[in-house]
């Protein structure tokens, strides 16, 4: 019997979770300081979970700049070139028509088309790149603590990443004022 296609899709979009150690804070400033300390202790690839964007978290966690601007730029240029190519091919090569006595290849008339294609390519591929980078869409993501979407802030270090040492991390989280330190899946 064939599987329910919706269920198959859901399984595909359900993220795999990893076990690890989580520290939960009630104050976002403490979390940023803790993230800085975790990075300095040599841990790579850990997550911060917050209900809103935190100023300075990128620097604290040492997150390099996203490559999405490059996707936007390159795809914008691609859209622009395709626009030029398409309007030229359609109006001057494949089906030449004289409109208003203008030359077949009239750049001024085609700039709106070229502009729109530039924006379309740049915008859609930026969104696609964002979805790809963020692993979206996610169905039934693992929830460490439901309050992480309202007033709590967490750091999650998956087991076995570079620099992972359970005792030391637990110690560090407590020193940095974590309200809760425990094992979790994320």
């Amino acid at each position: 019997m064939p599987k329910n296609p919706i269920e198959t899709l859901e399984n595909l979009l359900r993220p795999a979770s990893k076990p690890g150690l989580v520290g939960i804070w009630m104050d976002e400033h403490k979390l940023v300081d803790a993230a800085q300390k975790v990075r300095e202790s040599g841990v790579k690839n850990f997550n911060a979970i917050s209900p809103f964007p935190l100023h300075g978290i990128d620097d604290a966690m040492g997150i390099p700049r996203s490559f999405i601007p490059w996707v936007t730029f390159v795809m914008g240029l691609t859209g622009c070139s395709l626009g030029v190519l398409f309007t030229w091919w359609a109006s001057a090569v494949d089906w030449p028509l004289i409109i208003g006595g203008k030359p077949m290849w009239s750049l001024a008339a085609f700039i709106p088309v070229i502009f729109e294609l530039t924006i379309l390519f740049a915008a859609l591929s930026s969104v696609a790149a964002l979805f790809f980078l963020a692993g979206l869409p996610k169905i039934d993501p693992v929830i460490i603590d439901p309050d992480l979407t309202s007033h709590k802030f967490a750091l999650f270090v998956p087991e076995g990443v570079e620099g992972y040492n359970r005792q030391e991390l637990e110690q560090l989280f407590k020193e940095m004022g974590a309200d809760e330190v425990r094992s979790a899946e994320f």
């Binding site: 964007p53 100023h55 990128d58 208003g100 001024a108 008339a109 700039i111 709106p112």
Partner: protein, 401 residues
């Protein structure tokens, strides 16, 4: 809870800066006198470029300050005084406009065809437009515009300066209705002002987007001047505690956005005229795409849009003051070229390309006077409105992207 922000160190113009603007003013005056003896038409056209350029900058400073009040913006508080300083030229602009109008009542010469009864008598279209385009109504309009601008300018800027002494929070609230009033007045009056002073040089021609085109140039060049002044004050170490690279980043984004906006408006105007190809509309572009003017037109596309577009695109470019200043200087030069391109092909009737000491000299004169008035304003008031209630937002300003 009120946390005190220190009063910034006072800024004074260095001897070098003072000698620069005094010599500019001197050069301007000499050039204007010589130009008037040489060729009156050309001299007054050169004068018009300088007048429109710097009147626009003065209004642009007030426009920027007004939108910050209107949107209750916190990030821009630390640079608001710099934008306000541009308005110091506005009273000078009013005086220089009087000279311009008086100069044009000369019997043997007028910049505008519709000032001349003989030309109107022979021209049906000008007779048709005479109800609006006539010297009396022009003077009435100009007086109303400058009256409103100066009044609202005095109110808004005076309000801001009063707060430096009293620290009164209610002054911040009072600025909002004043800013709304100015923005309403500005939208209408600047559009009509640009039609009166620039578009009517070729009185047969009309373009409904012309006011927006002039506004695009105004805002682009205003942002460029503000960034240059920020750069100067940072170099002198006056505002380093108040303005960081995040403010520059936001100003850079503004500059980038309005570079694109200018191109968008300029292209919209061109494309519709090109497409419909009506003689009464194409008379504007016809001289501008022949002879030397063609190269000037291309230089606008290249240096007022394409080069600054790519130069302002990366993140680092907007956070680096020396790079940003270089782009700003380019844009300010191109704003001059833009006005030159709008004004000069109208010199009757051969549309000849002319560029010489008159244009450069007279423009430098205006530049000198503008620098003088802005420097005077900045040296007599604190360069940061340090008692604005929103200042903490600006002190900690941080942008992620």
């Amino acid at each position: 809870m009120e946390i005190k922000v220190e009063k910034p160190n006072p800024w004074t113009a260095s001897v070098r800066l003072k000698s620069v603007f005094s010599s500019f003013m001197f050069i301007g005056l000499i050039s204007l006198v010589f130009a008037l003896f040489d060729d009156k038409t050309r001299a007054w056209h050169a004068y018009l470029i300088g007048l429109f350029y710097f009147t626009s900058l003065a209004l642009g400073g007030l426009f920027f300050a007004s939108i910050q009040h209107l949107t209750n913006a916190g990030w821009s508080v630390n640079i608001r005084r710099i934008t306000e300083s541009l308005t110091a030229f506005l009273p000078w602009a009013a005086g220089l406009t009087v000279i311009f109008v008086l100069g044009n009542f000369n019997m043997d010469f007028q910049v505008y065809d519709w000032f001349n009864k003989d030309i109107i008598a022979k021209d049906g279209l000008l007779q048709h437009k005479e109800a609006y385009l006539n010297p009396t109504f022009f003077i009435i309009r100009t007086v109303i515009f400058f009256g409103l601008w100066l009044f609202l300018c005095k109110k808004i800027i005076g309000n801001s300066i009063k707060q430096d002494e009293s620290g009164d929070v209610s002054l911040t609230h009072k600025a909002v209705p004043l800013s709304i009033a100015f923005l309403g007045v500005f939208a209408l009056s600047y559009s009509l002002y640009s039609v009166d002073t620039l578009m009517s040089l070729e009185a047969h021609w009309f373009s409904t987007i012309f006011g927006v085109y002039c506004f695009a140039g105004l805002f682009q060049s205003t942002l460029a001047v503000i960034i240059l002044i920020i750069g100067h004050l940072l170099k002198k170490g006056i505002i380093n505690k108040y303005v960081n690279e995040n403010h520059l980043h936001d100003m850079g984004k503004f500059l980038f956005a309005f570079t694109v906006f200018w191109a968008y408006i300029a292209f919209s105007q061109y494309m519709l005229i090109w497409y419909s190809n009506l003689p009464e509309e194409t008379i504007f572009f016809e001289p501008r795409q022949s002879g030397t003017w063609l190269y000037v037109s291309f230089s606008l596309i290249l240096f007022k849009f394409i080069v600054p577009f790519f130069a302002l695109l990366p993140k680092w470019a907007k956070r680096n003051i020396s790079h940003l200043s270089a782009v700003c200087i380019l844009l300010l030069v191109m704003q001059f070229v833009d006005l030159f391109w709008l004004v000069y092909p109208n010199i009757k009737k051969n549309h000849e390309f002319m560029f010489g000491f008159q244009e450069v000299g007279v423009f430098l004169g205006f530049l000198g006077l503008f620098m003088y008035s802005v420097a005077k304003f900045l040296s007599s008031h604190p360069v940061v409105p340090y008692r604005d209630p929103r200042i903490h937002e600006s002190m900690d300003h941080h942008v992620v992207y």
